[in-house]
Amino acid sequence: MNPAIRRVGVALIVLLLLLVGQLTYLQLVDANSLNHNPHNTRALLQNANRPRGDIVTADGVVVAHSVKVSDGTVFKYLRQYPTKELFSQVVGYQSFLFGSTGVERTYNRDLTGQSLQLQLNNVGGLLSGNQITGTAVLSMRADLQRAAQQALGFQRGSVVLLDVKSGQILAMYSTPSYDPNPLAVHSNTLAQAAFTALNQNPDRPSLPRAYRERYPPGSSFKTITASAALETGVATPQTNFPTLTQLTLPQTTSTLKNFGGESCGGSLVDSFTFSCNTTFGRLGLQLGDQFVPAMAKFGIGSAPPLDVSPGAVPSLGPPAGSFQQNQPLFALAGIGQGDDAVTPLQMALVADGIANGGVIMQPRVVQEIRDSNDKLVQRFSPTPWMTATTPQVAAAVTQMMVSVVQRGTGTGAQIPGVTVAGKTGTAQTVQGANPHAWFVAFAPAEAPRFAVAVLVEHGGNAGNDATGGRVAAPIAAQMLKLALGIR
């Protein structure tokens, strides 16, 4: 019997070795993908039970904090958002069921004290068993955020205000918004109900329109068209354009009309000041295949590296190299219609590029990480994102934008004692719907400090009479005034 017993022995050993093989696969080879499997809530539970630092605004308002609870669930802390809907689209939420979003997600390791800098700062604490947490300090200000909320009121739209030199975002709000607190509760049933209700809401309040929704930019896009024309030498500020009421588009029988059927033209400066479509349609055609690369330098086609998760979506223009096949599209692109589709954040970054001598800064919402004792751990230094154009072109476009506010379509954005540079946009959407009202601006024009983009969907309260100058420009002025400290 012994040979048979030995054979049985070998078979049993093979079976157990098979298990060693499978274990190695599970725990080493496949472990990473299992750990990141969407059904895996282990990492979340571990996170949920780690003490978690606060998220505070630059002006000291707590927008997210954890409260120790013992509610009979497996969770030790309840995450709360005292400012409710005011910051939810940036700060996000931390939910056991649905994962986390926003700053809660991007800065998870800092908030839970796991980042290298925090660990190094707390070598002593590690030995004594004290768990540290990090506080994420936003560059955003609660007063500016609230002003944006009030300015928009019940109108749907977005406001993005940023610091020109650093790219730090000071306000970023869009309506409608939502209260994240019901999503963070510990009862699975209640959290699930809140989540379902939020996602079934036809107004889509969970969508951060400021950086994840694209709109036709309309004439606000002429800032990019003008920069491209100047930089490529297609035009100078003094180049004269014929006075027309409409432009016949090549390859078709259709025409491109001026706003309100008016006739306009003249110098590039005048065309820009009064937002003359025929001039900018012609520039789009003259730029041709040079146009798309020029847009790309402003970030069109790239996702702005915003430190919020999920990130910003890229803005779009016409396909590169498609000028010969579809020339009318380039005329439309010149006036911010057709294939142009941009986020409000992207338009604020365009204003930033012009204001900052051609360099667009990387947008940020968190300026620094502090430890539980309020000691500075890490400060995020300003980083350039894109070089949009030359300082000379930026200066020329600035002059044209000043002219818009002083004597053109954007007079609604004037601030006494401050030179504001701006550009209006009134973007056609679908047939029969009211146009979107846009305004992009920065101030002071001589030494720019703040850049802003305002979008009011479908004209807001003004409806069909809406223009960027009438609806969006006053909101932009109000934001700039507050940021500059003018009462």
């Binding site: 049985v8 049993l12 050993i13 079976l15 274990l23 282990r42």
Partner: protein
């Protein structure tokens, strides 16, 4: 013989104390993970674990002094690790498991005490068959039987629930071994020919098939397919060892495949197990939840584990019983999980060594069968939990929470040690025994 005796027992004592230290440190780590103080009951735990081991060790010294020195320490290690894991998942279950460990060690000592000659057991084969059958049927008895988690395997007397099937398994293996030793010549030879195959006469195979068939039917009735599968494999394996005819293995495989197909079409939960085995993530939120959570546990453990007390094994339903290995894999990592497998492998090696060294056919076959219970049961549950094979719920020997299984495994251990001791004692007489047997 006398020269090796103290050395063997001294190794056993040394290895056993190491196992006790591992268990005590494991318990300490679990407690420290919850709050940074040395638990006040650490010394009580350490003393009781040590006392239990020393008790078993002294019994072996007295009752089976020449037996294998590694089996008892290996069992102590696995039992200790199992207690730590179970207590970490549910302190209440941990306390019950501690009591069952004491009962098991008592059963171990009593087995060594009462089974002085393994031959005695051989003689009572039909008694054990009968008792084993009754034990199998008990859970079906109205009033006595209890259904837990969809399987009617339990017998409840007062507050204590136990699974008589665990004991029945040992008794059936005993019957198979004794019966096969008796008939193996006849079974190996075979008298009738069907096609190219020589088939033994039905009257020789009959009682075996009957016992086997009834046991499997009963287990199927109790929806304990894991045990049925295990018994099936055990029987085929022992038939092969007894006759050395590979045809029995082939026949068993064919029958197994046939039975699997029938089981798959007849039982919804078998289909579920196969579906979740093939694509667990598709059912991650319903019927595959437990398996998927187990896999996540292994992944979370990675190479070195999260550390005892620092993982989240409570995320896995039934982590203390069927899925205890996933908890081990999570907190002790690949290192700890493979260490457990190596310990099981060493037990299997020691068990089969006892079988090959035995002089008489009955202990050979009995030791092989008992070892195979531990090996196959480990493979079935670890394979199921790691998604190597479809999941069937059986306990992991010495580690899973569960009194009946623990007692049965310690009895198996005692029987193996008894045969090991017989081997060593029989050695000087080998020549005379062989001579006496010669025709």
């Amino acid at each position: 013989m006398s020269a090796t005796l103290p050395r063997r027992r001294a190794s056993e004592l040394g290895l056993g104390i190491l196992a006790v230290i591992v268990a005590a440190f494991g318990y300490l780590l679990v407690q420290l993970a919850q709050k940074p103080d040395v638990p006040p009951d650490l010394w009580v735990i350490l003393a009781s674990v040590l006392a239990l081991f020393i008790g078993a060790h002294v019994a072996v010294r007295r009752l089976a002094p020449d037996s294998d020195p590694v089996l008892l320490p290996l069992a102590a290690l696995l039992n200790g690790l199992g207690f730590v894991t179970v207590a970490r998942i549910d302190p209440g279950l941990g306390r019950i498991q501690a009591v069952w460990t004491a009962v098991s060690v008592a059963a171990f000592v009593l087995t060594l005490l009462f089974v002085r000659r393994i031959r005695t057991l051989e003689r009572y084969r039909y008694t054990f068959l009968f008792v084993g059958m009754v034990a199998l049927l008990l859970p079906l008895a109205p009033g006595l039987g209890k259904t837990i988690n969809g399987a009617r395997l339990w017998v409840g007397i007062g507050p204590v629930n136990f699974q008589p099937g665990e004991a029945a398994k040992v008794m059936l293996v005993l019957f198979f071994a004794a019966y096969l030793v008796d008939k193996r010549e006849l079974l190996a030879r075979g008298t009738r020919r069907i096609g190219g195959l020589r088939i033994p006469e039905l009257r020789h195979l009959g009682p075996l098939l009957l016992a086997w068939g009834i046991s499997i039917l009963v287990m199927v009735r109790e929806t304990d397919l894991g045990q049925a599968m295990l018994l099936f494999a055990l029987c085929g394996l022992m038939l092969y060892v007894a006759t050395d005819r590979i045809a029995y293995v082939l026949a068993a495989v064919v029958l197994f495949v046939g039975a699997s197909v029938v089981a798959y079409s007849a039982f919804g939960h078998v289909q579920t197990r196969v579906q979740t085995w093939i694509d667990p993530f598709r059912y991650a939120n319903n019927k595959g939840y437990q398996l998927v959570q187990g896999l996540f546990g292994f992944a979370a453990g990675g190479f070195a584990g999260t550390g005892l007390g620092l993982g989240n094994p409570k995320q896995i339903p039934n982590a203390a019983t069927d899925f205890v290995f996933a908890a081990v894999g999570e907190e002790l990592g690949l290192l700890g999980a493979v260490a457990v497998l190596i310990a099981l492998l060493l037990i299997v090696g020691a068990g089969l060594r006892i079988a090959t060294r035995a002089e008489r056919p009955f202990p050979k076959l009995f030791a092989t069968g008992l070892t195979a219970i531990i090996a196959l049961q480990s493979f079935v549950i670890i394979g199921g939990v790691t998604r190597t094979i479809p999941l069937t719920g059986v306990t992991l020997p010495f580690i899973s929470y569960g009194g009946s299984s623990l007692v049965a495994n310690w009895v198996i251990l005692a029987l193996l040690l008894r045969m090991s001791d017989d081997n060593a004692r029989g050695a000087p007489n080998r020549r005379s025994t062989v001579a006496a047997r010669a025709p």
